[in-house]
Point group: C2
Chain length 485, copies 2
């Protein structure tokens, strides 16, 4: 007669309790190999459970290797091999490996925020920094997919991708880059699973733990997380009205030998600042003088909807020190992971090596669809539509802030992208307190601390118009004014 | 008058030569800021080129920031900012950064081989280790994609993916794992971009450069490349008829403290060996005793087409030390990058962190399509068809080898997967020489050196039936016999 403790109020299902109980008896050698288990019906009766519950428990025990049985016969305890001297003393439920202790440090990052669903209830969401699903060219995507599956690309799905990326997509990207003044051949392009993956590959190739890298302060929060993952030491150059402070950069380079410099010259995240052509040339000259590779993050290259076009740093360089990173994520479908690196051929060749060894290659379906998307005539139509909508939203945002915020609050006036940056000097309350008050007032913002490695004494907030329409922008500004006045 | 050397026989297009020539004159200060360039027509005449060639060169020079021009006016040399003391002395054509020297070591890997197109001309390709495109369920895939784009999943494309992977796919994988005796909830699964990406994430989380890891000898060549990328030190355990030599393993563990053990219990690549249930239990017990995490590579779990089913190591463990890696690549579409990790919840939580920071998340389209593919009723039909075809190919291969190869050549007789392993003791000639002779005889094989970190004295070859039909298998065996007899 087998006696097992069964707890009908426990959250664990009964069959799992029976399975665990029998396994423990076998582990503790109270049931020996070869021992017969009671027939399912009798065991079910003795435990006052349904027979199917016992049948299910026995099935799991067989799958776990505890029992064996022949059709129409008893279940018996299986002989499980153990080398001599390996008797285990830990409780069965605990893992033998302390995973958290073994793991390298991976800190919590502000990902949840990006993932937050749009306006829940009455919340106006200025935190979300991903293109508006309402503007997603769903129908166009469907057509692209159809074309991929009807054409020769579908055979490409039956092979591993070229780890450098589908040639048709690299050609489309090369043409798109040319439209922004950058002359790169498909050979000088590597397709990645989005921009973050591109940064990761660059860091894997070019830095070692303990290396120094230069970045803007404030900067994109996930870049800070990536620096931590790679164990590199960021040195921060403050962002001013025209981008990175070049005097601070010069002074830093006089004392340090960083491996890379990261910059977002267009609609910088979080401030929304776009640097001038003169600033770009000065930054380039300075990095050339120190032979310091520049990682140019062009995530919002396509999102200029007013003001003069300024060419990427990559377009004015002639000495092969700029690693340009582009992405499709901020333009249409963040779920379609397509980004790229445009860089000197020797750098690309090595980056392809890292990509190949770390994942064999990218997803052929996504790359083929993106190639059609970029190369098709509908792309420009989509771009014009997006520009029109966001230009209006931007105007609504600036008008709303002008109307509702007091004079001591400062903000940037970007010519493109999704974000602008609010500074609240002399605020009543700390940043986190203000943020909670804003949330309670029905307006969600991204707090400045997500973009600084070290706390900033003045409260800052990033406001994104990515997923808020004009009417809600006006109302959101009114709520901001209520709390920040 | 501007004089430029133009070389009509050079591979560089004329407009590029003109662009480079003018840029060099500006860089060398022989053209000063503000200087006027000749009008395009006059310049074209003086160089004896078409005017459009000069127009194109000027456009590039403007994009590069060398020239400026107003409509209807001359082009003039632009003032380019340079901080004092940053005059450059390197030739313009050379990159300022020595990328190859800066790069971390990424060695060439046998990827080209996997990519080799099937039988070119008269070559019978036993080297290719990817599912046969002729068996790809194209029509079923098309239906899955259609369903994704018609259903609610298409909205998911407008968001960044959950970095753990689409819930619907994790649920489908969890059910599939249950069919193989593994009880894991969707919480204990992380979707990756294929198996190689899964290994990479595991190594990123759990090892540091210089750590030791245990692997089989021979083993999957790309795993060796991944070890090099991570700077870990592999210790090899020889594979015998029933898998890893457990005595060698015990002795190694008495002297070393490795961080991980990698094993392929099913249709081991390259040997095709499947270990017994008893071997799996012994290996598990040994690793439990040393609290050594096991990475179980189940890449061919679905490809058992004869013999008894043996359950994964993950299915018999109860103490949370097994990290199971699965993949869709060997089953249907290698270009659709879908793999997964099934592991204890605490390990998964950290792995999700690494995945999120290194690429934000996976591709939603591929994941949604894979979820439909796995969960649909057609999946089993596809699996049965694949089994039927490969079982016949395997029989043809074994019959062909029995007929054509001399007795001193040895080979494995796998019950599934794509590969078998040939040992040629006492061969006339080294492995590379034999391989070249085989290639000349019209049969391509994967040489043993791809699977060993250190050269093996006996020539070995991996033969794959993945993409060769029965008639060609018979002919391929005849050719093998001609060379190896």
């Amino acid at each position: 007669m087998l006696l097992l403790p069964i707890d009908r109020s426990a959250p664990e299902p009964l069959h799992r309790q029976i399975c665990d109980g029998v396994a423990r008896l076998i582990d503790d050698a109270r049931l020996e190999p070869g021992a017969r288990l009671p027939p399912t019906r009798r065991f079910a009766d003795s435990l006052a459970v349904h027979r199917s519950t016992v049948i299910r428990a026995y099935r799991e025990l067989r799958a776990l290797g505890y029992l064996e049985s022949r059709p129409g016969s008893y279940s018996t305890v299986r002989q499980r091999y153990r080398p001599p001297g390996t008797r285990l003393s830990v409780p069965r439920s605990a893992s033998l490996v302390h995973w958290t202790a073994k793991a390298r440090l991976v800190r919590a990052t502000p990902w949840q925020l990006e993932q937050a669903p749009e306006a829940q209830g009455n919340i106006i969401d200025f935190a979300r920094h991903a293109p508006d699903p309402a503007l997603a060219p769903d129908e166009y995507l469907r057509r692209c997919v159809k074309r991929v599956l009807a054409g020769p690309d579908r055979y490409a799905l039956s092979r591993y991708a070229d780890p450098q990326g589908l040639l048709a997509l690299r050609e489309a990207i090369s043409r798109r880059m040319a439209a922004h003044g950058v002359a790169v051949t498909p050979d000088e392009i590597l397709v990645t699973n989005g921009a973050q993956h591109a940064f990761d590959l660059v860091l894997r190739l070019l830095v070692r733990p303990g290396d120094e890298v230069l970045a803007e302060a404030p900067t994109y929060g996930m870049l800070l997380a990536l620096f931590r993952l790679h164990g590199v030491v960021p040195k921060f150059i403050p962002v001013q009205d025209d981008g990175m402070d070049l005097d601070v950069l010069q002074r830093t380079l006089a004392r340090h030998r960083p491996s890379l410099l990261f910059t977002m010259p267009n609609f910088h995240n979080p401030t929304g600042i776009t640097t001038s052509q003169a600033h770009r040339e000065a930054l380039l000259a300075c990095c050339e003088a120190h032979r310091l590779p520049i990682v140019e993050d062009g995530f919002d290259e396509e999102l200029k909807y007013s003001g003069p076009a300024v060419l990427p740093i990559k377009s004015i360089e002639a000495r092969g020190i700029v690693i340009y990173v582009g992405t499709l994520s901020k333009l249409a479908f963040p779920g379609l992971r397509i980004g790229w690196i445009a860089a000197p051929r020797e750098a690309i060749a090595r980056l392809v090596g890292v990509h190949r060894v770390s994942s064999l290659g990218g997803d052929v379906l996504a790359q083929a669809v993106a190639a059609h998307f970029y190369a098709g005539s509908h792309f420009d139509t989509h771009l014009r539509r997006v520009h029109r909508v966001y230009q209006r939203r931007r105007q609504a945002m600036l008008a709303g802030l002008d109307e509702h915020l007091p004079a001591r609050v400062l903000w940037t006036r970007p010519d493109g992208g999704y974000t602008l940056w609010l500074s609240v000097p002399g605020a009543k309350g700390r940043e986190s307190v203000l943020r909670d008050r804003l949330e309670r007032a029905g307006v969600r913002v991204a707090p400045g601390r997500e973009f600084f490695a070290h706390p900033h004494p003045i409260p800052h907030f990033r406001l994104s118009i990515a997923c808020v329409d004009e009417a809600h922008i006006a109302e959101g500004c009114r709520r901001l004014g209520q709390v920040l006045r």
